[in-house]
């Protein structure tokens, strides 16, 4: 026979303060656990969304990011003749050769310097990345020293008002517009004309080339073509999405490893908290347990009742933790991505998998914390228990 649920519920209610303290501990751990998962997911999603499966990017072999990659002009011209590259209506290859550098700008509200990515693009780049939309002002004109600024950079850094001039490289650049990259890494970049940038930074070579594949399947053929051409042997082709995913690995891995190590240690603390509460519950209710056993409730029913009590506590704690963590999704963090050494803005992303993992984690805390006390409760000898008052 099962012990009625009302009994379990009332026992929790009877010791409100203790219940609340235990709940608080579990909720805090669940909060940190969920927040860490959300953050590492946020980094991944920002970068993965940046790349498209239809695009491919060419870098120098063993260059892990555009920052350290170089592609010479001859090579880039050969690339543009590839039949695997889609053609634009005007007959030009659907490809953008780009220069990628980082510059220092001062953050708003402090004198901290941030590394801001500056990307020189070809005119085709705007169609290659349709997610990038103009937010304010106008697009820059190719052939001039004008730039447009990603919305995150505009928010985070000083001197980024429309119409303002910024000096970097060998020139002064006029800010003519803001763009919205729809939550991608482009939000944290500054864009201008690749030829102007190359000249200003004294870079005769490109950093990378990105092109639209005729179809996602054309990727392998293009890769093979690069490998077989001795003039291009130093290059490596990657799907744009894979490339950006790699850029997220170092950062999201760091957040995840550090965060999870810390939360697992935390959770031991919270589990001990739950254990203390449940042991005390057993000790206080010895006579009650004896009475229930005398009435005919089985050992396993007693065990179950105490386990359920602890699981209820932990699930409620987990739910509170998730609720608190979901508030974090309004916060965006802007910091240096270790992978690219430049500023990247990302948020806390709440996904169903985060909720499930957090609840499971809370459940685990409840079961581990409640099991030993529940066993003690079920093992009590009826006579001794009744006498113990």
């Amino acid at each position: 026979m099962k012990i009625p649920f009302a009994y379990i519920w009332r026992s929790l209610w009877a010791r409100r303060l203790t219940t609340a303290l235990t709940l608080g501990g579990i909720a805090l751990v669940a909060f940190v656990f969920a927040a860490v998962l959300m953050l590492s997911r946020g980094v991944e999603e920002t970068l993965i969304a940046t790349g498209s499966n239809d695009n491919a990017i060419v870098l120098r072999k063993s260059a892990n990011s555009e920052l350290v990659s170089q592609i010479d002009r001859d090579g880039a011209n050969i690339l543009k003749t590839f039949p695997e590259i889609a053609t634009l209506p005007n007959g030009k290859p659907f490809a953008s050769t780009e220069v990628y550098v980082i510059i220092n700008l001062s953050k708003k509200g402090s004198n901290d310097m941030g590394n801001v990515s500056v990307r020189g693009i070809s005119p085709e780049a705007l169609q290659l990345r349709p997610q990038v939309q103009l937010l304010d002002g106008r697009w820059f004109t190719f052939g001039t020293q004008e730039i447009i600024i990603g919305k995150n950079i505009a928010q985070q850094f000083q001197k980024c008002e429309l119409g303002q001039d910024i000096r970097f490289g060998d020139a002064s650049w006029k800010i003519v517009g803001y763009f919205d990259g729809q939550g991608t890494a482009f939000d944290s970049e500054i864009w201008g004309d690749v030829e102007q940038m190359g000249a200003a930074f004294g870079r005769p070579v490109f950093s990378s080339a990105t092109f639209r594949l005729t179809s996602p399947e054309a990727f392998e053929a293009a890769k093979l073509r690069i490998q077989q051409d001795p003039r291009l042997a130093y290059m490596e082709l990657k799907r744009e999405r894979d490339y950006y995913e790699e850029q997220s690995k170092l950062m999201s891995g760091f957040i995840r490893i550090l965060g999870l190590v810390v939360t697992v240690i935390f959770s031991i603390g919270a589990m001990i908290g739950a254990m203390i509460t449940m042991y005390a519950a057993v000790a206080n209710r010895t006579v009650e347990i004896g009475t229930m056993r005398a009435l005919g409730f089985k050992r396993r029913s007693v065990l179950g009742a105490f386990l359920i009590e602890s699981i209820l506590l932990s699930l409620a704690g987990g739910a509170i933790g998730i609720a608190l963590a979901s508030l974090m999704s309004f916060i965006r963090i802007s910091t240096t991505n270790f992978g690219t050494f430049s500023e990247l803005a990302f948020g806390f992303t709440l996904a169903p998998s985060v909720i499930i993992s957090t609840l499971l984690f809370a459940l685990l805390m409840g079961i581990v914390g409640g099991f030993l006390p529940a066993v003690r409760a079920s093992r009590l000898n009826i006579l001794n228990a009744l006498r113990s008052a």
């Binding site: 501990g25 990659s69 220092n104 901290d112 310097m113 550090l258 919270a270 802007s334």
Partner: protein
Amino acid sequence: MFILKLVLKNALRHKLRTFLTILGISIAVMSFGFLRTIVTAWSAGVESSAANRMIVRHAVSFIFPLPYAYREQLSRIPGITMVSYANWFGGVYKDPADFKNFFPRLAVDPETYFEIYPEFTLPPDQLATFKQERGSCVVGAKIAQELGFKIGDAIPIDGDIYPGRWDFVVRGIYKGKDASTDETQMLFHWNYLNERIKELQPSREGNVGWYILRVQNPGDMPVIARTVDQSYLNSRAGTKTETEKEFQQSFVSMSSAIIRSLEVVSFIIIGIILLVLANTIVMAARERTTEYAVLKTIGFSSWHIVGLISGESLLIAGIGGLVGLATTFPVAAGFATMFPTFFPVFNVETVTIIMAALVATVAGVIAALFPTIRALRMSIADGLRAIG
């Protein structure tokens, strides 16, 4: 004396509960200490920077090089007693996915580098061989140990910033003067880099990543910084001159959002310590309501009750704190061996120890507050009537 004895007896009444509470607190204090250690390790470079060194880099950002010609010009500026220079080489050693294989690789001037960084100690014979041999390198003791580099070994690096395959022969292993010195760098000849890059990409010849200046008088630093930056204001490569401390700080502040979240998390731990401890003390005080009433009846003052409750709370918090602090050291050492190159310097600082001890004590006081107030307010008659 009597109170102390009673506190001890009380604490031992529920041995299991007391043990669990101490365990919980010590784990929390340990993770607090560990997190604070990460925070301090992050800015270890700032703390260990020398007071007489300055760094000159490109004004736009550190990825742009400065001309080698600046070396001569810089050394003529009054107040500067030595000029050295270095380039970030980057490159990939073995599997880049393994954190262990990442260590800073710098092309330096062998003649001046060890002189301007006296905290890098290298035996004179090794220094002499290093200076003579073009393709040789010197590695820090920490990576030498972790990655098994011995004198005479060749280290293969795949270049990224500087393309091609590079092999360096280890001719020296440097040690740090004290625990706060970075022992994870690999240093080799700037000339060797420059000559090879001249063949591959002639346009990149004579590039220096940054200059390191030693100044006579630290008080002159602001003047020197202005003089240097002014003189290159209108040249192709403008400079930004900072003290070594400011230079290091600029790297730390890039990750300020992460450091701040680690700090927030470390304060959440204090919340957890408090909850675990408060739970135990509240429970104990509730069970002993009748006893407190009896004590009051036979003439003990309220202060005795305060002493009893907070004494027990402080005792448990104190033991938990001590155990936690004691375990912080092996945990930090374990982390440092697991990820040797993640943080060049990873030591538990004195500040961390003091903070952790303070946290445990404050938690002990606060946890006792609520049950103490309750015990003091309660009338004797109510207390005697209460059932645990």
